[in-house]
């Protein structure tokens, strides 16, 4: 299943809840302000690093670019996708759950 998160982890608990309620093997795509959850060295980074083993994480490139976040600032192991990649993920996965 594909889960999307569009809120900053410093302001809302959408990412935490997504990780608590998504099954191992899920794909998690960070979009809009959700991309701040992918920042290496932040207080929220542990959310993702603790789940890298059994979840696949993606961030939407255009949203990174809009916010001035370079790929070098991301937690290692997170993949950047463009809009086509987003569509591909959504089509490949049987269901999409949006954590807003």
């Amino acid at each position: 299943m594909l889960h999307t998160v569009n809120k900053s982890p410093f302001e809302k608990n959408s990412l935490q809840t997504c990780l608590r309620l998504s099954q191992p093997g899920s794909s998690i795509l960070l979009i809009e302000d959700g991309i701040y959850g992918a920042l290496k060295g932040s207080d929220a980074a542990a959310n993702i690093t603790e789940h890298l083993q059994d979840r696949q994480f993606y961030v939407l490139g255009p949203d990174l670019k809009a916010r001035g976040i370079d790929k070098s600032r991301l937690i290692d192991g997170i993949e950047i996708v463009d809009y086509d990649g987003f569509v591909k993920l959504a089509v490949e996965e049987p269901k999409v759950q949006s954590w807003m």
């Binding site: 900053s8 060295g41 490139g61 809009a66």
Partner: protein
């Protein structure tokens, strides 16, 4: 001039502090906070900006919204100096929590009229304790 004509430009200068706590592109708060601050500054009020929590992301370098189809208002922060805004406070704790340092922030400057228009940095990193005093000493605090 009669007393009735007292307008914001005719004398009373108040200390305005605009507190910005939202990330830049996920909602309109950031852009509106910036525009309202510029309007206030155009009326020759003493305007200072504070960036705390996700608001610190507003000052991040290299923002480029061309691929998300929204207006890139990031360059407008550089106009604050033209509007005589000279004080930008960024809370250290908020930056650290997000894995950011001052190098991640746009190098905003103003030109000091009293010092042969020398460019001076506007951004001051302050601790929460210092920010408490700044908020306390402001006449009007507006939140975005």
């Amino acid at each position: 001039m009669s007393d009735q004509e007292a307008s914001p430009t005719s004398g009373i200068i108040k200390k305005f502090l605009y507190v910005n706590r939202r990330a830049p592109h996920g909602s309109n708060y950031a852009q509106e906070g910036l525009e309202v601050a510029l309007v206030g500054a155009a009326f020759e009020q003493d305007v200072a900006m504070a960036y705390i929590d996700d608001g610190v992301f507003q000052l991040k370098t290299d923002q480029d919204t061309s691929e998300i189809g929204t207006k890139n208002f990031s360059p407008t922060y550089r106009a604050l100096g033209d509007y005589d805004v000279k004080k930008i406070y960024v809370e250290k704790e908020s930056l650290e929590k997000r894995g950011l340092t001052q190098d991640d922030l746009m190098p905003l400057v103003y030109e000091d009229e009293d010092d042969d228009w020398a460019e001076k940095p506007m951004i001051n990193l302050v601790s929460a304790a210092e920010l408490q005093d700044i908020i306390e000493q402001s006449d009007v605090v507006l939140n975005f």
